[in-house]
Structure formats: C-alpha cells, structure tokens
C-alpha cells in the first residue's frame, strides 16, 4: 500500500462509467443526423431507408438561406467585437493591480450564470423605452453581452501563460505601448484570440434565448428552427438543418479548443 503509484492504478468500474457517460452525453444529439437521412416524415424506428432529400429541400428554401446569412452576420460581428474588447479586459485582469478586481470580474462574468431570460427581457425593456426597433443589431448587442465573458475567460489563460517581462523588454527597448502590443503581445496571445473568435462565433450562431426576445423581422437560424418546430411535416428538414448546424458548431469549437490547448494545460498546471 505504500507504493505511491496505487493512485494511478486503473479503476475498471470508473473507466466503464466514464465510457457510458460520454455515450449518454453524445448519443441523443446523434439521433438528429441519424433521422435526417431517414426516408420518412415520421421520426421513429424502424428506419425507412437512406435519403438526401431533406438536405436538398433545405437548399431551395429562401427563408433558410436568409436566416443563415443573418446568423453569419450577427456571429461575425459578435465574435469580432467581443474578442476585440475582451483582449483588453483579459490583459487588464491578468496584468494589472486593480482595486475591486474580484467584484469587477464577477460582474463581467454574470451572463454566464444569470438566466438568459432575465437579460433578454431587461434589454428588450430598455430598447423599447428608448424607441429602438428590434433588428439584427439588437440581437448582436445581446450576443456581445453573452459572449464577452466567454471571450475573456478564453484569453485570460493566454495572458497568464506568457511572461510579462517580454513586454517590459520591448518597452525598455523603446517601443511604445501600441507597438509593444502589436509586435509582442498580439503574436503571443494570438492562439487565444483565434480560439475566442471561433468560440464566440459558435455561441452567437447557436444562441437562442437573447435572439428570442431581441429579434425583429429577420430571424437568425435558431429562431427559424424554433418557428418550424410547430409544424410536424417540417420535422425532417429541421433535422437536416439541425445536423448541419451541429456538425459546423462541433468542428468550430473543437478547432478553437485545439488551437488554445496549451493555454488550458498551462493554466491547469499553474493552479
């Protein structure tokens, strides 16, 4: 028992549990693509045969394509804006001594925890009081608030992971703050920035709650899906659309996490 490696001994039941956990985590979502290829408008077993028809049908629908364009526009604007602002916030939080930093960070991270419906209706009430009509711009504002905490949380480990003295060296060698940022800080945290862009784009692209309250006449893709859920005959094409969105989201998030992987490693080792 005194052998310290006993902790590393493989634990068979726990391994089985972990495998089941991952299966249960992923399988419900995998039914969406499975039935999207099913040649029946009913979502039930037994499967009726393989078809691409629901996907082809999607391509011909103008509202789907319009919603897709809306979502991409909102997603790009949201990710660029929240990442751009988030860089400075992440740097301030990791580098500088700021009185009341804890409460400030807590405040910034609020959207991660507070129910989305509260922010959604609060923003809706503000906009209607100001007489601002709902549009893709208002959706973008909502998404920036949701995405900023994600952007900052993604980039903080990057700033923690690199040595501040490099920035100081640059300053000592005569660069001003602007060029120090572009020639030293930016390249060092670039993977974090890229990850943040990908992750916030995905969060915005998939976001529904804020969009529900803040969308005007142009729906985003999740809003379009929501509006179609009422019609059973639309189920298969919704499944096809959902499958495409899931594959794209998984790919983007995976890529983002992969780019940023050593930041995670550094952060978990440092703690």
């Amino acid at each position: 028992m005194s052998d310290p490696s006993y902790i590393k001994r493989p634990n068979r039941p726990l391994q089985v549990y972990a495998a089941i956990f991952l299966i249960v985590l992923y399988v419900p979502v995998l039914f969406l693509p499975l039935f999207s290829f099913n040649d029946s408008i009913y979502v039930k077993f037994p499967l009726q045969g393989f078809t691409f028809q629901w996907y082809f049908e999607l391509m011909e629908r103008e509202p789907v394509l319009a919603a897709l364009r809306n979502s991409i526009q909102v997603g790009i604007a949201t990710s660029v804006f929240s990442t751009g602002i988030g860089i400075f916030a992440a740097k301030a939080i990791t580098r500088y001594h700021i009185p009341g930093k804890g409460p400030i960070v807590g405040f910034i991270m609020l959207p991660l925890v507070v129910p989305g419906i509260i922010f959604g209706v609060a923003l809706l009430v503000l906009l209607s009081n100001l007489g601002i009509p709902l549009s893709l711009y208002t959706v973008t504002i909502g998404h920036v608030i949701v995405c900023l905490p994600f952007a900052i949380a993604t980039m903080i480990p990057r700033f923690e992971g690199f040595d501040a003295s490099v920035e100081e060296a640059s300053a000592d060698l005569g660069e001003n703050a602007w060029w120090t940022f572009w020639r030293v800080t930016f390249p060092m945290v670039f993977p974090g920035i890229l990850a943040s862009l990908l992750l916030t784009f995905t969060v915005s692209f998939d976001e529904f709650i804020m969009a529900f309250f803040l969308t005007g006449t142009d729906p985003t893709l999740p809003m379009y899906i929501w509006s179609q859920l009422r019609f059973p005959q639309e189920f298969p094409s919704v499944l096809a659309l959902a499958s495409i969105i899931l594959v794209v989201s998984f790919a983007l998030v995976f890529l983002g996490q992969w780019i940023n992987r050593d930041a995670h490693a550094a952060a978990s080792k440092g703690e």
């Binding site: 726990l14 129910p115 509260i118 609060a122 100081e168 959902a242 996490q257 992987r261 490693a265």
Partner: protein, 309 residues
C-alpha cells in the same frame, strides 16, 4: 506584481515618445488597468446595469391596454403574492432545477474524478470531449431529447419494435421528469469543469499520507478527496441551479402543462399575455429567489466546510 511598476518607470524616462494622455495612463498602473477594462465595463453597464434598472422600475408600473401607467405602485408584487399560480410556478421551477442540479452533480462528479485522477495521457482531449456539447446549440440539444423521448420517438418506437411495450409510454414526454432529464443532460458539461479543476488541484501527497496512516480507499475519499473538492461541487451546483431555474426552452418543448416553469410565464407576459410590467415583476422575484437560495446554500456549505476541516 512589482514588474509592471518597473515597466512604468522605464517608460517615464522615455516621455517624448508618448503623448500627454499616454503619460497620465502610464503614471498609474491602476489607471492603465482600468482604461483597458473600460470598453468591457461600458458594454456591461449598458447591457446589464441600465436594462436591469429599467426592469426594476417597470416592475412598479402597470399595464393599461397597450401602454403603461408609469405611476409607481406595488400592485404587481401584490398580485404575484396573491395569485397562487405565480407562487406555484416559482416553487415548481426551484424544485425542478434543484432536482436537475442534484442529478447533474451526482452523475458528473465520478466523471470529473476519473479525468482528474485516472487519465494521464491526453487529458486535454478528455476535457474537450466532455465540454464540447456545452458549446453547441442549446435549442438543438433540447430538441434532440424531444426526438428521443417523443410519443413516437426513439425510445418508444424502439421498445414497440422490440415488442417490449404495446403502446407508447406517455410519461416520457411532456412531464417534469422529461424536463429534469434534459436539463441535467444539457448542463452536465458545465458542471464537470469546476469539479474537475478542484479535484485536479488536490495535492496527491495528501492521499499518500492518508494511505500511509492506514486509511482505506473509502475513508481516504471521504476524509481527503471529497472535502477538498467541495468548492468545485458548490460552484458546479450554483452554475447549474441559477441558470436552469429561469429556463423556458426546455419546459416549452418537453414540459407539457405539468412541466411549465416560471420562465415560460415570464416569456408569455412579454408575448401573448402582453403585460410587460408583470413580466418585469416576475423576473425580479425570480432573481431575488435565486439570489436568496444561492446565498443560503453558500452559507450552509461554508458552515459545513468549516466544521469538517
């Protein structure tokens, strides 16, 4: 922390290169930090504080036809106290998300434990795998449970095909349990991270010490691992309980009449019912209830932690 100070003084000697504004900024580390934070704080103020202030104000207004009577009154709060439907929905929401929280934490803890203690290679891969679903569309994950639990969904049609049941099991969809299952599944990825982080931080030599002093695996877990991972368990619980209480997508898609939550009612006040002030009141009440419960929970767990450590 002393490093940035030397940075600032190094720059002070270099004044001609920076403008007056830059000099003011560089004089104080705090000022520079705050100026970097300003855009974020401005956005968050416009996006959170101001709307929230107006939401509170509106909760004291009343709806008159299609407009608002902006005279300050507590009528909405009184109505919320008197009409039993509001209290019942709030209680049910707290109960259902409480159940979802307990289920998620209990089911995710072993997983977090496994990755923290038993995965030695490709740890990052496991963490990404566990958290990946969290980043993808919430709406679609909920929708996928509708497909799984539906009246003619995956489970029912599979069981009928296998000849195990004659008619679809109706309790699967449109019930509180459907909502709790879906919530637990949807938030599992979020729950794992804080628990994993606190388990990962545990100094392994403490476990060795406990073993050397004669503790078996169970005693070791109960006396070392569990207490030290409690902070992660607490934050995981709050991270699930708080947002799920206000959820309205899951109950709307899977809850049926018995599974509706307070979020659905709030949403209706801003939609079909069109009584925004009442919706604002209910949002405030929801926030206050969540806040009170979270605070109580943290007080109790803090007390317990002090007792056991």
């Amino acid at each position: 922390m002393s490093a940035p100070t030397t940075h600032a003084s190094a720059n002070a000697a270099d004044l001609p290169r920076t403008g007056r504004f830059g000099r003011i900024l560089q004089r104080s580390e705090t000022m520079r930090g705050l100026s970097l934070l300003t855009p974020t704080l401005v956005i968050m103020t416009i996006g959170i504080l101001v709307p929230f202030g107006i939401l509170i104000t509106m909760s004291f207004w009343t709806q008159v036809g299609f407009g608002f009577d902006t005279a300050i009154t507590t009528a909405n709060y009184e109505a919320a106290g008197e009409r039993p439907i509001y209290g019942a929905l709030l209680k049910r929401s707290l109960y259902m998300s409480g159940m979802a929280t307990v289920a998620t934490v209990l089911l995710s803890y072993p997983m977090a434990y496994f990755v923290a203690f038993h995965v030695h290679r490709n740890k990052m891969m496991w963490i990404v795998l566990m958290t990946l679903p969290f980043w993808t569309s919430y709406l679609l994950r909920v929708f996928s449970w509708k497909v799984v639990l539906g009246y003619e969904g995956v489970i029912n049609s599979a069981l009928i095909n296998l000849g195990l049941i004659e008619a679809p099991l109706e309790f699967l969809l449109y019930s509180q349990s459907a909502v709790v299952i879906t919530l637990a599944h949807a938030w599992a990825a979020f729950a794992i991270l804080p628990m994993y982080v606190s388990l990962e931080k545990i100094d392994k030599s403490l476990l060795e010490a406990a073993t050397d002093l004669g503790d078996g695996p169970v005693a070791r877990f109960l006396r070392i691992t569990l207490p030290l991972s409690l902070p992660g368990v607490i934050s995981a619980s709050l991270l699930i309980f708080i947002p799920t209480t206000g959820d309205y997508i899951t109950p709307a898609l899977l809850g049926g009449p018995d599974g509706q939550m307070i979020g659905n009612l709030i949403q209706k006040q801003f939609g079909a019912i069109n009584n925004w002030p009442m919706g604002a009141t209910l949002s405030i009440i929801l926030m206050l209830s969540i806040g009170a419960i979270a605070l109580g929970f943290m007080t109790i767990t803090n007390f317990v932690r002090k007792r056991i450590s």
